[in-house]
Amino acid sequence: MSAWLRHHFHSWRGTIARLTATPIGTALNVAVIGAALALPLGAYVLLVNLQTLAGGFSSQAQVSLFLDRSASSDDIRSIEDRLRRESGVAQMRFVPRATALHDLARSANLSGVIGALRENPLPDAIVVTLDGNNAALAEHISQTAGGFAKVTHVQTDSGWMRRLDALIRLGRTVLVLLGVLLSLALIAVTFNTIRLQILTQHDEIEVSRLIGATDAYIHRPFLYLGGMLGLLGGLIALGLVSGGLALMNTDVATLASLYGSQFRLDSLGAPDCGTFLLFSGLLGWLGSYLSVSAHLQSVD
């Protein structure tokens, strides 16, 4: 085993000894780091679930054309032909008024009310699906189709999606800011924890420097300690978020079933968990590095 590996081995052993020597202090530090990390992690998991939920709906804008009751089959064919000539139209679907009424009765549990109607109040409709969720294109198609004969009303269905997208984008920005702020908080927590550790080992550091220890040698056990604190804090955060999701999922399941959905909040997958733990360990490492470097600069 090379001298370098022996240094690492000694540092690891020392780190484990330090962590276990003061279990309550270690637990409290890890809990603080875990709580700080749980907030952005939880927000991230919710955002990912929201994106998944939004992705379940069509990501293509739709324009609905409601037709006059007097529109004949030829009128309908003519409208469809004109729409086909427009660029950006992905597909069209004619929805007869009888089908529309049947769908309405089924989806909104209104069969009793609809059954009491003397006649079908709904018009025939053509649902136009566009390429992508292009608001400008939807507006253009809407205006064009509005001028067609036998088209009484045009409704664009992309507005709510744009609002949801905008909300998700806003959430992502807030999440990045929150993540940066709490990462700084984690670095500060580790910095202070390591600073206190340095104070308790001040003599050892001083003697080590005088007998020829390099900065890297002095840094190493503290870097391991900071990295371990970050990693353990990350594990706590994952536990908190998983527990929170499990609690929320009971209510989410009830809510989703009311909309006839099987939607559930998913936890992070293994690759995301691994990345998150690596990130939290690195933040702890960074806080520790800054703390030891500051100390070594001050005593030099």
Binding site: S2, R6, D203, E204, I211
Partner: protein, 222 residues
């Protein structure tokens, strides 16, 4: 025992501390390989500063300090640890670690250079044997007498087999008999080829050694 090549060389060395206090002024001397030199002078004469300059703990304000051919005055921070691995340092206040045993204190320099546990243990025990502390290897340094703590400090300083041994007031708090026994230890290391520099104001403790002296007074060579 002195060889021809100087292992330590001071040329017009001055050390001024922040605030304008001149700890050393115009110091010129050389120490040959394998030589035993005592730096003497009253408190405040500049003895400790001189040793700190050799060990690159302090940096000279002007002049040149050469140690084993390296200019310590301009040495980069990253190079200092490797210089110190060739030096053995003995301090007036011992600088022992009281959270570990006598044996573990001596093991520390060997861990720093990455020796295997087996080799390090063998060398640590040999160093403790040389200073007469092998029987106390498991004891805490706190339980040792002042003289024993100083001998432990010497064992830690020599365990790396340094070419230069520096000692700053190693007998300051010891009675004359113990002080002489500590000085004898330094002489025994010098006799096997180690260059030894001892800063002391205790002339009685070194009187029987008839050493070469470098006398300092108020930061200047007397």
């Amino acid at each position: 025992m002195a060889a021809s090549a100087p292992i330590i060389s001071f040329r017009e060395v001055c050390k001024r501390y922040p605030g304008g206090y001149d700890a050393l002024s115009g110091i010129n001397f050389e120490v040959d390989t394998g030589e035993l030199l005592f730096v003497t002078g009253h408190s405040g004469a500049g003895k400790s500063t001189l040793l700190k300059l050799v060990a690159a703990i302090e940096r000279s304000s002007t002049g040149t300090v050469l140690v084993a051919g390296q200019n310590v005055s301009t040495m980069q921070r990253a190079a200092r640890p490797f210089l110190r691995r060739n030096l053995g340092l003995v301090f007036q206040d011992h600088k022992l670690l009281y959270d570990r045993s006598v044996f573990d204190n001596v093991m520390l320099p060997l861990q720093v250079i990455g020796l295997t546990t087996k080799d390090a243990s063998r060398r640590a025990r040999a160093a403790l044997d040389k200073v007469g502390l092998l029987a106390r290897e498991k004891a805490n340094p706190m339980s040792l007498s002042g003289g024993e703590q100083q001998r432990l400090c010497i064992a830690r300083a020599v365990v790396n087999r340094p070419s230069i041994l520096l000692a700053d007031e190693p007998t300051a708090s010891l009675d004359l008999e113990t002080a002489r026994s500590v000085m004898e230890i330094f002489r025994s290391f010098n006799q096997v080829g180690v260059t030894v520099l001892v800063a002391t104001h205790d002339l009685a403790a070194i009187s029987q050694l008839q050493p070469r002296l470098l006398a300092l007074s108020k930061g200047r060579q007397a």
